[in-house]
C-alpha cells in the first residue's frame, strides 16, 4: 500500500492543485484513462466543498487529502474540520431555490454520480468523504 497525503489552506486556488495531484496519482496507480476525468471532477468537488466549509467556519485550519493505492482500488479521502451534522437532502430541482453559490449538498450529489464507491461521514468535528475507483492491482496502468 502506498499513501500520499496532502494538506492545504482553505483557498480556492489550491483546489486546482489538489485535482492535479489526485489525477496524476490516479494515473500512476493504474486507474483507466476513461475514469480520470471522473476522478478529477469528484476530487475537485470534495475539495471545493471543504474549502467553502472552512471559509465559513474555520478559515485558518488546513484541509487534508489522503490518496491510497490499496488492493486494486484507488482511494481518496478528503477531510475537513468544519462542523457538518447533516447533509442536505436532495430536493426536486427548482430554479428559484438555487443560489448562485449553489447548495453545498449539490457537490456531494455530483460526487455520488461520478465515483464508483462513495462514503460520506459528517460529524460536528468535520466531514470526511471517501471515494474510490478500480485500479490496476500492481499499480501499473490497466
Amino acid at each position: 500500500m502506498a499513501t500520499v497525503e496532502l494538506t492545504f489552506s482553505a483557498l480556492p486556488a489550491h483546489v486546482r492543485t489538489a485535482r492535479l495531484v489526485a489525477t496524476a496519482i490516479a494515473r500512476r496507480t493504474g486507474v483507466e484513462e476513461s475514469l480520470l476525468d471522473e476522478v478529477r471532477l469528484a476530487v475537485g468537488e470534495a475539495c471545493s466543498r471543504a474549502v467553502e466549509a472552512h471559509r465559513a467556519h474555520c478559515p485558518g485550519e488546513p484541509i487534508r487529502i489522503e490518496l491510497r493505492d490499496d488492493s486494486g482500488r484507488f482511494e481518496v479521502t478528503v477531510s475537513d474540520q468544519a462542523p457538518s451534522d447533516e447533509i442536505k437532502q436532495e430536493q426536486p430541482l427548482d430554479l428559484g431555490m438555487l443560489s448562485d453559490s449553489f447548495m453545498s449538498g449539490f457537490g456531494i450529489a455530483v460526487i455520488a454520480g461520478l465515483a464508483d464507491d462513495v462514503e460520506v461521514f459528517p460529524s460536528p468535528k468535520g466531514m470526511r468523504i471517501r471515494m474510490s475507483w478500480p485500479a490496476a492491482a500492481n499499480g501499473r496502468p490497466a
Binding site: 480556492p12 486556488a13 471532477l41 475537485g44 430554479l95 438555487l98 448562485d100 449539490f106 455530483v110 454520480g113
Partner: protein, 116 residues
C-alpha cells in the same frame, strides 16, 4: 489552465466565449461578467463552452445564477457544448432540463431566431 472570457453581440444575442477551467477559484470572474452583461441590458446570452476544459458545481451555480437574472428580464441563457466530459455533469445534476444546450453557435442562433 486559467479562465479566459470574451463576449460579443450578434443581433440581439450576446455570445460569451469561455476557455479554460471553471471552478471555485475562477467561477467568480464568470459570475461578474454575466452580472455585468445583464446590468448593461444584455438579456439573451449564449455561453460557448466548447473550449472549457473543466466545469464543477461552482460553475454550474454561476450559470444557474445567470439564468435566473436573465429570466427576470424575460431573457434567456443557453449553452453551446458538445464535450461529453462537460455534458456529463449537466446530466448528473438534471440541468439538461433547465438549459438549452446546442451543438454549435450557428445552431443556437437559428433556434433563437425561430423563437422570435
Amino acid at each position: 489552465m486559467d479562465l479566459k472570457l470574451d463576449h460579443h453581440n450578434e443581433d440581439r444575442l450576446t455570445i460569451v466565449e469561455v476557455e479554460g477551467e471553471i471552478d471555485v477559484y475562477t467561477a467568480p470572474r464568470l459570475r461578474e461578467l454575466l452580472i455585468d452583461l445583464v446590468n448593461k441590458g444584455n438579456f439573451h446570452l449564449l455561453v460557448n463552452m466548447e473550449k472549457v476544459d473543466f466545469l464543477d458545481s461552482t460553475g454550474l451555480g454561476v450559470l444557474v445564477g445567470g439564468l435566473k437574472r436573465v429570466r427576470a428580464h424575460d431573457g434567456s441563457l443557453e449553452l453551446v457544448c458538445t464535450q461529453e466530459r462537460i455534458l456529463k455533469i449537466f446530466r448528473i445534476t438534471g440541468l439538461t432540463k433547465v438549459f438549452g444546450i446546442y451543438a454549435s453557435v450557428d445552431e443556437a442562433k437559428e433556434a433563437h431566431g425561430k423563437d422570435k
